[in-house]
Structures are given as C-alpha cells and as structure tokens.
C-alpha cells in the first residue's frame, strides 16, 4: 500500500465527525488532511523511518494531552508524532497541536494549519478540543525548545505551567513522550533572531549547511504511561510546578531510555515501520 493509500484508509477510520463536505465543526478538512499527511507520511515512513516505542500508552479514545520535548529547529517533532497516531494507531487518531500565532497571519499557512486541525495556541482552543474528547499535542518548552542548539539536543529547557492547569481543569490524562533524533536531523548551530523577527517568526534556525533542511536521520518516539492528576486548575503555583516537574522528570526518563535504544541497548517493544 502506498503512503497516500494508507493515509486515505486511516482517514476513513479516524475519530473526526466530518460532514458531507468532509469538514468537521472545527473546520478540519479530510481533503487537506489527506494531502498533508500523504506528504508528511513519506518522510515518516521512508525518509526518517520513524521508530515508535510503547504506542499502546496512548488512549484509543477520549481526551488526552500528549506532552513531550522539542527536538529539531522546526516543527518536525509535531509532524512526526501526528503521523504516528494517524498511520500506526488502531483506530487512527488526529492530534491537535497548538501553533504560533504568526502562522495564522501567513497566507496559505493559515489555511493549511486550520484545515488540518492545528490551531493558534490559545487556552480556549485547548479546552474546547479536550472537551470534545480530542488529543492535544503540547510542547511545554515552547519556542525556547525548538531553539535548542545541536549540543543541547538531549536537554530540556524550562517548562511552562499552562498545560498542567489545562489538564487539571479538563480532567485530561497526560501522556508523556520523548522525541529523539530531531537535533541530529536539523543540527542547529545558530538561531538568527533578528532575521526571524523580520518575518514575524521567533527566529530562523541556521545549520552548518545554512538552511534548516532535515537530514535523513532515523527518529525515535518513546511514549510513556498516562499520568493522572487530581485538581481543578486553580491550585497554587507551587503545587502546579511540583506536578509540572513530575511530567518533566518522566520525559527526561523517556529521553534517557530513547538514547539507550538508539545506542543499541534496551531495545524493547519497538514497532518499526
């Protein structure tokens, strides 16, 4: 089966209530998803040959928040996580990531991100999607996370705390994950912040070969067990940060496990496409 056929088959079973025009109440379009994931799916299957570990940890239905580390100077990590859920989960699921506001002001990017269910990062969007029993993809490191340089690729920068309040408010389980290899695929050596500002972006990553074109490096995604927290999101900062740190520690542990797998040790439960 070609990637395009595989994507078409997944979209027949994905948990999205498309109307007769193939559009759901959030404006997500089956036609746009098919096109986008056929393109991304090629990279997922054949270029990066992404390996998944413990994909079963993701709930098959209902709300959940996937929380992971940024890896790679552009949104490669989000795209590959989304491919893994749509192409390798049974039943397939669509993850919604929260994108930078500036993307919605750029012609075509605005149209494509919205039609593919990737909305501006607003708490209102996160709550609505979770209350609609969807999967939310969150990178609490934010733009500082994608700005990690090659030598910092296995580190975690400070986490924001908004995701934890949202998870508590919506009673959504958190599935931690580690993404490995993005730093090698796009080995950022410098971030051009002034150039980025000129385009309305936070920065432009620069690699030894100048552009942030990804190299064909194998990528690994390690999914951890769902974490459940009690509360309503109105807790004191200390309580929230203590829980944020629990999630951060879980992700750091998964990164370490992923590194061992990539070094050839502890190669357990690997699903290789």
């Amino acid at each position: 089966m070609s990637t395009a056929e595989e994507v078409a088959e997944s979209l027949r079973h994905v948990d999205i209530p498309f109307n007769r025009f193939g559009v759901d109440p959030f404006g997500i379009s089956r036609r746009h998803l098919r096109f986008a994931f056929s393109f991304l799916g090629f990279f997922y299957r054949h270029y990066f040959r992404v390996r998944l570990h413990d994909l079963d940890n993701i709930p098959k239905r209902g709300r959940a928040m996937l929380v992971g580390n940024h890896s790679g100077g552009v949104a490669l990590d989000a795209a590959m996580v989304m491919c893994s859920l749509l192409l390798d989960m049974q039943p397939p699921r669509l993850a919604h990531s929260m994108v930078e506001k500036f993307l919605n002001t750029v012609p075509l990017l605005s149209q494509w991100t919205n039609r593919c269910g990737q909305f501006t990062g607003l708490p209102e969007h996160a709550v609505k999607l979770l209350e609609d029993e969807r999967l939310l993809l969150v990178f609490p490191e934010g733009a500082r996370g994608t700005a990690k340089l090659y030598r910092e690729r296995h580190s975690l920068v400070d986490f924001g705390s908004g995701f934890m309040r949202l998870a508590l408010q919506t009673h959504a389980p958190i599935v931690p994950f580690a993404f490995l290899g993005g730093g090698e695929a796009i080995p950022t050596v410098y971030n051009a912040y002034a150039l980025g500002r000129a385009f309305g972006a936070p920065y432009v990553p620069v690699t030894p070969y100048l552009f942030a074109l990804p190299l064909p490096v194998r990528l690994d995604i390690v999914y951890g067990e769902p974490m459940h927290f009690d509360g309503d999101g109105g807790e004191d900062d200390e309580v929230i940060f203590e829980r944020v740190n629990q999630v951060k520690d879980a992700i750091a542990g998964l990164i370490e496990r992923g590194r061992q797998i990539r070094r050839g040790k502890n190669d357990h439960q690997v699903l290789t496409p």
Binding site: G27, P107, L108, N114, K128
Partner: protein, 311 residues
C-alpha cells in the same frame, strides 16, 4: 402577549412579526421604513425610534415584550447617523421599556461583536470581551449598543433582558451581510485564507427569537445554527466562483472592478473566522436548528442563482 418590534419593516423584522402574529400574539412595530403589505393583524407605526412619537407608541401599546431589531450595520448607514440610530435608539428602547412597564426586552445583536483576528479563538463564549475594534473601528457603535443592552441586566433588574448575538443569516430572502457578499456570480477572497463562516437559515432565526419570547432567558446569548463551513465551500455550494486575490491586490481593488467598497477592517472578516458557541442559548430555550448548512446554502443558491447559471 402584546409584543412591540422596533425595526419591524426590515426583512427579519417582518418574518418575526408574522410568525408571532400567527402564534396568536398581539404584534405591533415601529419603523421609519414603510411595510406596504403588512398583514392587517400587525400594526405598524411609521415613526423614528428616537423621537417622541415612538414613546407615544410605547405608552399606547404598553407592550409586555419588546424585540429591538432597529440597529443598522456600516453598510446601511454612515458615521454619526449610525451612532445615533444604534446607540440613541437602543437607549430609547430600554428607557421606554422601563417607563411603560414592559416585562421582557430582547436585543438582537450580531456575532461581529467578537471581532475577527488571527489570535481569536474558535467557538467564542459569551463572557469574552470585544477584541476586533482596533482593526475594525466601524463596529464600535454596534459593540457599544450590545454592551449597553447588556448593562440593562443590572440597571433594570425588574426587566428581563435577553441579548442575542446572532450569526450570519443565509437563505432564500437574501437578507444580511453574508447573503449580500455572495450576491455576485464571483466571490472575491483573500489568497491563502479560508475562514469558517457560521450562518443560519431565516426560518431558524425566526424560531430562535420566538423561543426567546416564550422562554424569557435572562442574559447574553450566542445564537447559531448548524456547523460552520469554510468560505471556499460556501462559495462553491452557492454556485459562486471563488476568486482568490493576494491581499495587496484585494486592498487596491476595493470599490473597483465590481468589488464592494468595504472598510479595511472588514478584510479580517474574510481572513479569519468568527465562530460562536451557542450551547447556553440551546440549553436555556431548547433551541435546535431545523435547516442544516447544506440546505441553507442550496436554498440561497436556488433563490439567487449565479449570473452564469441564470443566463
């Protein structure tokens, strides 16, 4: 019930009046415009809502329910006149309601209250502030009228106030901003943007207002019907040809080549979505739409075929 409708001679005012009269209510209205073929059981007073004669109508009719539909958009009136109609008129309606003992006042507002912007969320809830005024100051009078109407909730606790923020209307009457935007055989859009449009059929608009009269929900409510659709689908399903223009070309073409002359701020409304969450209204009144998005678009298309199809 005795119901008075300021703005009765407009397309939606007439439909609402006929529906309520058919349901057995005693309906009368106020409008500067004439309603030539008004049914005999509907009394129309040709007076200006801001003038003394309108107060006299309130005094004589002593309405139990007032449905305030006498607001205009920037397309219908310009500048200062629009402010006087929308703000002066709304103030007069609430003052007269209180003075002449109305029990319930319904203000018909618009979803444009929320504004369209790159960082505005899908599915607005009623507690959100108006965020679009910076880019589209022409909306200030309507937003102010909406907020002023909402202030009646605490200023006049004995008066039940319902503020209804309605989404676009689309159906065979061709009434409303969206229907007007789609009237030509080509629909200009901005290249690379395809916002969601939320609209409801006239029949559902009438149904929602009649339910508000019956159930008397107190508060501010978003009112919408079926799920929104992208502008590209809207153009296609109403038989129009979509012409995506780069924004700089679009801006320079406004008012020329058959394109409407719209304020720059209105551009955001064809770049970004305004979609509301209307669950609170549905729960308060039991409202559900009867006409889905497909039927609404197809009924509009049948009533207003594109020039090519009509030819």
């Amino acid at each position: 019930m005795r119901i008075l409708i300021p703005g009765i001679a407009g397309t939606m005012g007439q439909l609402v009046a006929k529906d309520l009269a058919d349901k057995g209510h005693e309906v009368s209205g106020i409008d500067r415009r004439r309603w030539a073929d008004a049914p005999s059981n509907i009394e129309v007073h040709n007076v200006d809502i801001r003038k003394r004669a309108a107060e006299e109508t309130f005094r004589k009719v002593k309405p139990e329910v007032v449905i305030h539909m006498a607001t205009v958009s920037h397309f219908a009136a310009q500048g200062e006149e629009r402010y006087r109609i929308n703000l002066g008129g709304t103030r007069a309606v609430f003052d007269h309601c209180v003075r002449y003992g109305a029990a319930h006042c319904i203000f018909i507002g618009r979803h444009t209250y929320y504004g369209a912007a790159a960082d505005s969320p899908l599915y607005h809830s009623e507690d959100e502030p108006p965020m679009g005024l910076e880019s589209f100051p022409e909306l200030a009078d309507l937003v102010s009228a909406d907020l002023y109407a909402g202030s009646a909730l605490w200023r006049f606790p004995a008066l039940t106030t319902t503020v209804m923020r309605m989404c676009y209307t689309l159906g065979p009457t061709g009434h409303g901003t969206l229907a007007t935007f789609l009237r030509g055989h080509s629909v200009p859009t901005i290249l690379g943007f395809d916002p969601l449009f939320q609209f409801m059929h006239e029949r559902d608009v009438v149904k929602s207002i009649a339910l508000a009269v019956e159930k008397k929900p107190r508060g501010v409510f978003n009112v919408s019907g079926p799920q929104p659709v992208p502008l590209s689908v809207l153009a296609r399903e109403t038989g129009r040809r979509q012409i995506p223009l780069p924004e700089f070309v679009f801006v320079r073409s406004l008012g020329r080549f058959g394109l409407p002359k719209i304020p720059r701020g209105a551009l955001n409304h064809i770049k970004y979505s305004i979609v509301m969450d209307s669950n609170a209204f549905r729960q308060a009144t039991g409202f559900s739409h009867e006409v889905d998005e497909v039927q609404a678009m197809h009924e509009y298309k049948a009533a207003f075929p594109s020039v090519r199809e009509a030819g």
